[in-house]
Symmetry: C2
């Protein structure tokens, strides 16, 4: 039954009232008599009328669409399960608040340039959630300047920016403290890319934990990788000659790569080298030994980012908010504590 195109006028006529009243009913305005409201709702139900969102937007200057902007949507981003979970969260936040989610993946610098205006100045988007990746560092100030309401996913220093992050710093600290507690002496880390704030914070947490115990930091035990399994495999191979007795790996995906490199060298986890990851993905329970890791609420970060943005949109943005969600140490077999 391909419903005919109904407009607010026809609904008004059918309900024996004016467009304004129909509009009021549609928007839950108070000044409508129960009588009229009932009538209108009845007609709407009968006809299956749906207001045209575009006409609505033009008139109200609000689209009820928010964008999720991913600054440099390169390959590695999609190899980590982080990103799909985040999307899922943001989508869920949008759904529950009746917003539509648009996705802006900038696959290259040129695309970023091309799409930037659309994202920032177009009336299409009421606001944006931006992920703070390396490339994001360049984009975020521009978005801030442009004045689009926005929430960053990931720590961001600019005081004008609201953000949601998980507590990478204390997560990493917990991981490394735990390894220290177990008596490890040469704790290495496979860190993430330099420009990524999560990677930075996890690295800092690693340093903090060592210093808190008065341990000297050995730069040779810190290697950088790229959040991919293959990258971490290579990183671990570089690390092996330096004979660490434990490694804090900045993501579970990378921990899988590290594990393989260790196995490949004929060593055992946790007997020769203890391992702690970060994320607590399902894979963490699918390896032998089970991976000790730091749990972070990825999906919930997405939900929250969306909700903070929408809240600001609907209730007027106050001061920027910074929300840091707790992380949690999940002890399994790979750290050798059982």
């Amino acid at each position: 039954m391909p419903t005919e195109k109904l407009t607010i006028r026809q609904i008004a006529t059918l309900a024996g009232t004016s467009r304004s009243s129909v509009s009021r009913v549609l928007n839950n305005h108070p000044n409508v008599s129960p009588e009229v409201r009932r009538q209108v709702l009845e007609v709407i139900a009968e006809t299956g009328y749906q207001p045209d969102p575009i006409a609505r937007s033009l008139s109200s200057r609000r689209s009820n669409i928010i964008g999720l902007v991913v600054p440099l949507a390169i390959r590695s981003l999609f190899e980590d399960p982080f990103f799909p979970r985040l999307i899922q969260g943001v989508s869920q936040g949008c759904n529950t608040h009746d917003y539509t989610l648009s996705l802006f993946l900038f696959h290259s610098q040129e695309e970023e340039e091309k799409l930037f205006d659309g994202v920032s100045r177009n009336q299409l988007l009421d606001g944006v959630v931006v992920t703070a990746t390396r490339a994001g560092a360049a984009l975020i100030p521009r978005l801030l300047e442009s004045g689009v309401p926005m929430v960053v996913q990931g720590r961001h220093e600019d005081p004008r920016a609201s953000y949601v992050d998980s507590d990478n710093l204390s997560g990493a600290r917990m991981a490394v403290s735990h390894l220290l507690r177990l008596g490890n002496q040469r704790i290495a880390t496979i860190a993430g890319p330099a420009g990524n704030t999560a990677a930075q914070d996890r690295r800092q947490g690693y340093l903090d934990a060592l210093q808190a115990r008065g341990c000297a930091v050995d730069d040779a035990l810190i290697v950088r990788s790229d959040f991919t399994q293959a990258g971490a495999y290579e990183a671990m191979k570089r690390l092996l000659p330096r004979q660490p007795d434990a490694v804090f790996v900045a993501s579970d995906t990378m921990a899988m790569g590290a594990l393989q490199a260790i196995r490949g060298a004929g060593l055992s986890v946790p007997d020769d080298i203890a391992l702690v990851g970060f994320d607590d993905l399902p894979q963490a329970t699918m390896v032998d030994p089970l991976l000790t890791t730091i749990r972070q609420p990825i999906r919930r970060m997405g939900v929250l980012a969306a909700e903070m943005l929408i809240d600001g949109l609907e209730n007027g943005a106050e001061a920027p908010r910074r929300v840091v969600l707790p992380t949690e140490l999940v002890i399994r077999g790979s750290c050798g504590s059982r």
Copy 2:
């Protein structure tokens, strides 16, 4: 520099012409003198004017937004790298053709109901790409009825539907034929969920290959799983007592689970059991032995789905198109052929 809100009128005034002409320039209409066009473009460049996409949509009845609809965006969907790649492809297709992508993840049946009207009858979307999952089977006919232009990702029987798929059938056939060629006698399969067409086709390809060699099909060697690693781990454990000498696993992620179960039983791949996966994800080259698998072009499916949809939108939809992209056998170590 927070640009003032410019409208087409002001551009017209500044360029010393009428709104109509500006609009013509904007839309590349032929009937504009080079003179006027130059003037207008100059003013646009100077002012940084951007037409309001919403006003434009209201007037033209086209939004340049397409939706990517994921019928039952349950957990398992996000544990497989398939989905993020598909998104990436669709996004890329949209970017290159100046469309905006909106994402509709239905996390539950209620959400599906709630959002269905919006997706189907709203003027917001010019068309949709729908993924054909189990749940999609219920949604697609409804979308078809509603008349929204659409392209399905994954085989769909309804003759009115256009779709893009990869050649699961012959991919699976290649996998199993290869295992047969290597002399395996008891070839099992870990299939995907019953309602998933890709899973069905891969299962059928398995059957076809056996029959082509005149091998009897042993139902005990066919187990169903859910495209997750954990699920496949359990499935493989069920399979082990039946002593297969080879297993065709319907996804790489599941192959990882199967591998673990085999190892857990103290058996070796490929010596005791040969393994072939499906997808050719990066992980396939991160296991020992390297995983023999069937490569399918996930990202490209996404690009194509978007492009087919957009092409239909802009050039008028002709007959439904069915595009099946080739798959490819990638021989590595897990099948025991080297």
